[in-house]
Amino acid sequence: MYEVTYHRASSVSEAVKLAKAGEDSKFLAGGMTLIPAMKTRLAAPSDVVDLRHVKEIRGIKVSGKKVTIGAGTTHADVAGNAKLVRVCPAICKLASSIGDPHVRHMGTIGGSIANNDPAADYPAAMLALDATIITNKRAISAARFFKGLFETTLKDGEIIKEVQFTAPAKCGYAKFPNPASRYAMTGVFVAKGKEVRVAVTGAGDDGVFRAKALEKALERKFDASALDGVSVSASNMMSDIHASAEYRANLVVVMAKRAVAAANA
């Protein structure tokens, strides 16, 4: 790891100020992506600003169907939240499928969506739930927030404070984990509120996306059988040593069926 200067912030405004003062600062949340990247010198910030002690961005609020999750909330806390599991069990299940217990104790939802790894789980939930990402500057819809591989609309020094969404009547998540890394080789989040939204992670060659053909079929009948015979084109799928584009295209439909079955269970 290259040299770095560590700072600890206790509020969002202090974190913004500390980050601004550094030459090439990065926020440090759970560190489960940033520190491995620094260890291998893929990332080399001059300064890191630790957000783990910023209380105002931690915690989960559920009021009726309205859900607010602080950016600094760990995967373990999302997975185990009793109020959240009652209104939106799929997001708890998703969080419990991230990495391993030790990663879940540190990693945060804010860090995951800021990083926008094309194989990360949370982006699919944010897009399917039509979530709003609240930063220290603005509110951004998930559809506008995620931009391709590891890209978001976040500006330098902008902090995610929380994400908000309205829990849909039904939702489900199904993930085919990469056997080595446990990241999603294909993960599908299905939400049925006023409309049906199907978001896919791990499969697309440009990051998380909505599967419109599957949404259309599920609008007619919200049942796994509605996807029988429906196929997804392999042309925009990722292809690597783990799986070909065709294999991933097939997995999208299979995972969507499982997600719908989970939503209806």
């Binding site: 790891m1 290259y2 040299e3 770095v4 200067t5 560590y6 600890r8 440090l28 560190g31 489960m32 520190i35 491995p36 620094m38 260890k39 291998t40 890191v48 630790d50 783990r52 373990a76 990495g99 391993d100 217990p101 030790h102 990663v103 104790h105 540190m106 890394s181 446990r182």
Partner: protein, 165 residues
Amino acid sequence: MSEVSMVVNGRKVSGSVEDRTLLVHFLRDNLGLTGTHVGCDTSQCGSCVIHVDGKAVKACTMLAAQASGSTITTIEGLADGASLHVVQEAFKEHHGLQCGFCTPGMIMAAVDMINRHPGGLDEATVRAELDGNICRCTGYHNIVKAILAASKKIKSSSARKKKAA
């Protein structure tokens, strides 16, 4: 450089470290607690697992500076003098180790897992919970057996304590 201080295995410690120092190196090099191992560069193997403020984390993926102010337990802090912790005892009894390299992390992960499942564990849960701990020797069977046995023992002794109270 940063001044860091924390409570490690019940002892207050402090030191001056480069900001880029990983917690695992602070434990091993500054404090001489070499029971916590480093088995990979990718945060995947779990041989470095310790407890920070009561939760299992990978000491190779946290800066010492991040851990300043917290309370830490390492493998060296589990035994009570000469008597081993129930989980250590179970690994010995069930032959849950061969070369032993992964064992400190396995045991710290197991203690954390058992703490989070006071109602007990089943084999599928133990295997899923071991996602972040890699062992190149044992094939996991005896590790799983050891954790199940320790979980049972801890559950029944806490039930006895409850009854007595």
